[in-house]
Symmetry: C2
Subunit: 665 residues, 2 copies
């Protein structure tokens, strides 16, 4: 019954078909008034123009990389790499296209039909993204495995996907926060015009940013963890004498898609329901269905039930990390309230309080990953860790759906504001937007946790790859000086990366602030609302700025890995990957949670506490929120992918490191 894995391609094709069906479902809805269509058109155009520019550069980059990889490691790897970039790029395009259609239709449905009909459009728009991502990813893996039967070839595809993801995630992250900060600082702070005011030259760039950063970026993010986790578990399974271990990850991933489809089908919201609760309910139902399906499949196929225990361990860790992220960021719990309260004494104490709670929020996540990986290992060795990561990521379909829902709601709110649809519609889209923020905390926590486990599985698969090459077992002793040195150097890669990317945001925002001021100075009638601002200039600035910051950084990360590998050899690299996991995981959780916390603390003040909008506490909370923006939307989300990329580069180049390293193996 090894052919049970064929469930994977079947489920992924079903997933793609349902995704296309939902795309048409959303697309068939009315896009509203002419003004709404015009605004949506601007956002759509801006988003496409960003993606087009980005893809042009990425196409060249991917082509060059594919050639280099083919020369260094053979044509199969080169082609597999290219295949990965194409699939990941496709997922990004689809996600973006649906997002820019769903946003205006959600706004219109809020105007015409109320909460339930608006919610369902936003959610199904997100679901398109979720289903297409997991469908394309799993189909790609299945095709390569079917063609070659060798999980290590999937590594090529996985790196292709991860590298592209890193560009989309980090590039989109720089773009979105550049526009957001610049628009707010000049618009809200200097000129006192409201958020999403169409007079603001950066307002379209800001809404484009939501799409390219949050939506396309985060879809691609889980694409890459998803592929990497399945690939790592397959490599670890391949070293065993039991043939089905290699294909269990495919089977579980296929079942995960079915569970996600079930979850997506049941999510809807009644007149008095809370959209946030409905979204979470969908996730829990999917997790439950996934557990049951995998249990049945594992036992009916007569597979070792220990695999299933590892699977459930991963799922539990994901849910725990997601739930604690929610606790530390949600507006309903003490951390956000205390951070808001601290804003009364000014921005400094607000920032310190939020940062401190952000640090504390890392504890459950670190504990969860530490204990979870140890439990999975004790059940089924390194393979168990790989399966735990797969278990966590198998329900990526619904997780991405919830995640992509967020920016659609955010955009719908923006359009409602810009098109002046009135307070009732604004309140409804606010509610939809707020639910997105809650869900985002959970899905982000989940995504970071999944990436953490995946990274450990990748480290294990790196060890496996090395052992296959040298033909004996190898250990990486903590007291081996090369390992220790590798850890310290590896730790600095996520640290430097997040710092540089945040400095990039500041630098670009700085330039864009000048541009916005220039437009208000030089375009007569702009402030009075009688003239249009030049939206394009801001979009172009954000696009080229983001890409200019990014290329050197990504090349730095890859080169550091290669240089250390060719100097320090495979033990140094093992330490290096571990170090990158340690600091990367820590910073990713810290930045996501502290950022979310400051955001919600600001919202708590805005909802009327401690003086409400316009009070000194509010001004302080806005500063905290602005600090948190690049934390949670630029640096934090890129770190997972960064770690995944360098982990895979290390595995891919392991044969060369073994052959040519300067300081022994």
């Amino acid at each position: 019954m090894v052919e049970a894995w064929l469930l994977a391609p079947v489920a992924s094709i079903i997933s793609i078909l349902i995704g296309l069906f939902l795309f048409n479902y959303v697309n068939a809805k009315d896009a509203g008034t002419d003004r709404m269509k015009e605004l949506a058109g601007l956002i759509q155009e801006g988003s496409r123009s960003f993606l087009k520019t980005e893809y042009r550069y990425l196409g060249i980059f991917a082509g060059v990389m594919a050639v280099l990889l083919s020369l260094a490691l053979g044509l199969t790897i080169g082609l597999s790499f290219l295949f990965g970039t194409i699939l990941s790029g496709l997922a990004g395009v689809v996600g973006m296209e649906i997002a820019v259609k769903a946003n205006v239709r959600t706004a219109n449905a809020a105007k015409e039909g109320g909460l339930s009909s608006a919610f369902i459009i936003a959610f199904r728009g997100g679901a398109v993204m979720g289903l297409m991502v997991v469908g394309l990813a799993l189909l790609g893996i299945s095709i390569i495995y079917w063609l070659t039967g060798d999980p290590e070839v999937i590594l090529g595809m996985s790196i292709g996907a991860s590298t592209l993801t890193l560009f989309m995630k980090a590039g989109g992250g720089i773009f979105t926060k550049t526009a957001d900060i610049a628009a707010d600082l000049v618009g809200k702070v200097e000129l006192g015009i409201p958020e999403d005011d169409p007079r603001n030259p950066a307002v379209i760039a800001d809404n484009v940013g939501d799409n390219v950063g949050d939506c396309a970026g985060s879809g691609a993010d889980l694409f890459d963890s998803y592929v990497a986790a399945i690939m790592a578990a397959m490599i670890l399974g391949g070293s065993s004498a039991i043939p089905y271990l290699t294909t269990v990850p495919l089977l579980y991933a296929g079942l995960g898609i079915i569970a996600s489809i079930i979850g997506i089908a049941v999510v809807r919201v009644g007149k008095d329901d809370n959209p946030g609760k409905s979204l979470n309910m969908g996730t829990y139902i999917t997790a439950g269905a996934f557990s049951v399906l995998t249990y049945l499949a594992t036992s009916m196929l007569g597979y070792d039930m220990k695999i299933w225990y590892c699977n459930v361990t991963g799922l539990l860790v994901g849910i725990i990390i997601g739930m604690t992220s929610d606790y530390y960021t949600s507006i309903e719990h003490p951390p956000a309230k205390k951070t808001a309260e601290a804003a009364q004494t000014g921005a400094a104490i607000n920032i310190l309080t939020g940062f401190s709670y952000g640090l504390i929020s890392c504890f459950p996540a670190l504990l969860g990953i530490g204990i979870g990986s140890a439990v999975a290992f004790s059940i089924y060795g390194v393979y168990g860790v790989g399966i735990a990561a797969v278990g966590m990521l198998s329900i990526a379909g619904i997780i991405i759906a919830g995640d992509a829902y967020g920016p659609i709601g955010d955009n719908a709110r923006g359009i409602a504001e810009m098109a002046k649809l009135g307070d009732i519609v604004l309140d409804l889209t606010d509610e939809i937007d707020a639910a997105g923020n809650t869900t985002k905390a959970i899905t982000k926590g989940f995504a970071i946790g999944a990436a953490g486990l995946t990274a450990i599985a990748l480290l294990a698969s790196y060890q496996q790859v090395v052992q296959d090459i040298i033909g004996r077992t190898i250990t990486f002793d903590l007291m081996n000086p090369l390992v220790m040195m590798g850890i310290f150097i590896g730790m600095s890669v996520p640290i430097i990366f997040s710092a540089m990317i945040m400095l990039g945001v500041s630098k670009n925002a700085y330039a864009m602030i000048e541009e916005i001021r220039r437009q208000f100075d030089e375009i007569p009638g702009l402030m009075e609302g009688t003239a249009q601002p030049e939206y394009d200039t801001c979009i172009n600035m954000a696009t080229t700025g983001a890409l200019r910051e990014l290329f050197p950084l990504i090349i730095f990360s890859i080169l550091t890995t290669l240089i250390l590998g060719f100097v320090g050899g495979i033990s140094a690299i093992a330490g290096y990957l571990a170090g990158a996991i340690f600091s990367g995981f820590f910073l990713a959780i810290l930045m996501a949670n502290a950022g979310g916390l400051w955001d919600n603390a600001k919202k708590y003040v805005e909802s009327g506490h401690f003086g409400g909008k316009g009070s000194d506490a509010h001004k302080a909370a806005v500063i905290g929120d602005t600090v948190g923006d690049p934390f949670k939307d630029t640096a934090g989300p890129s770190l997972n992918t960064l770690v995944t990329v360098i982990s895979q580069i290390a595995s891919l180049f392991a044969p060369l490191f073994v052959a040519y390293a300067l300081l022994g193996i």
Copy 2:
């Protein structure tokens, strides 16, 4: 020639004698006008009252711990522990006493004699601290080694010193920032009265804080790394067949004292000299003298010259980390200037920029420690790492002198302001104060680097202790799930500790702000300057607040170590210590440098750039500085000691972990 180590007690007695001589030298100087004496008396009283309260609690704590340790591990360890707490406590008292005498005498010398005479008093005041700390520490170690001949007994003394240090460092850190933030927020921000204005009820507490936090605390800080490094190297040397390896650390430490005395003797500043440069020159001369002396001693005694290479490696790493810290924080280099420039767009971008540079500044430090420890290891195994740490810390005498100079200058400035000594004196004390800030960056970097290497040496000595117990070699494989779990849990200890301690500052500052407002409301004539504020209330609030926050935290850290040890066993603890080193070292560098950077960015604005004092950029920079205060003066400096404490607890309890751990060894 094993008796060469007797140089250690001889040098330490000389050090203590010169320290006492300089104490009298400073004490004999004139303390100025009656008003100055009165103010200095208030600071002195407040400092003593804090120390008295703290020592009362610590006495009970130390007594209980000594009894518990005696019961668990034998009377010798209990007594050795007590001895360590007494020596460390004594060093704190001496440092505090000289600081509260030198401050007012420095201010008076600035009034009467100008820069050179003021500088020499401040510096020699710091030198008393430096000489007493290294003298007492090395004498203590020598006595125990002379009595028992067993380096592992020194472990007891070292833990005693470290635990007390952790209280002094973290307690003083909470105290000083509580008072500083509260005094500034109400005084400077709300009421618009200048810094160090005597009408401010928290002003004396603020100045007391400089003494108890920066001066006594940082002296005790290096005390503990110093003892721990020497002890760890002795334990590592003890496992070898070459008898002199055990005593080389003592010999080098003795030579380090002599080199420090040379350095202290040559530091002085001419009329047009720059005090900061003079201080740094003293450090470089000491480092040079130390290298030469150890070279001569090693070769003349016929010891293996590889030991000397490790020694110099450590020294170089320390200097590199110190110098890069200087680059990333100093007002003269781009990071501080760009952070100041970013303040023009508001507090948020100022904070993001400073935080980003703080992250980047970790890179050279991580690289330095990583490569330094690998080089030392490749020269002489784990013993080489121990010697590298000793090499770095041997010149602690001059490092502490430079470090303790800072708060003396800061206090002198405060007294000059409060006693209204006029602008010329204020400018002079400003210059002395500013030099302290520059030196502080270097000495802090040095101290953190030294603590990092010491922690790695402690991890190695932990491994040695475990091997001695189980009678075979043991490795800690990164892929061992217990090790990996240990790393994740270990990472969270410094993270939680720094978060809780910063929240403690916010909480206490919040309470003190209320108290200051109350006094201004209820004491008639306070604002007009006709009535005295109740300084004592603020001092008492800061004292009890600090201790109340601290006890649970320290007990949490110790208990976490013991619980994990008794559950996960020695492999989990090895990972745990490594994890604590990773996150602790990273956070310590980040917090010290980001904090210093924001401080200097503010000073750069104040010196007339981007609108100067009172501008919007200045307001933004002040917010950044306030965020940085608990970073650099509360959380950051405590982390080294925290890691040292738990590392030593682990070694001490290793026999019990081996015997009783739940999940195997």
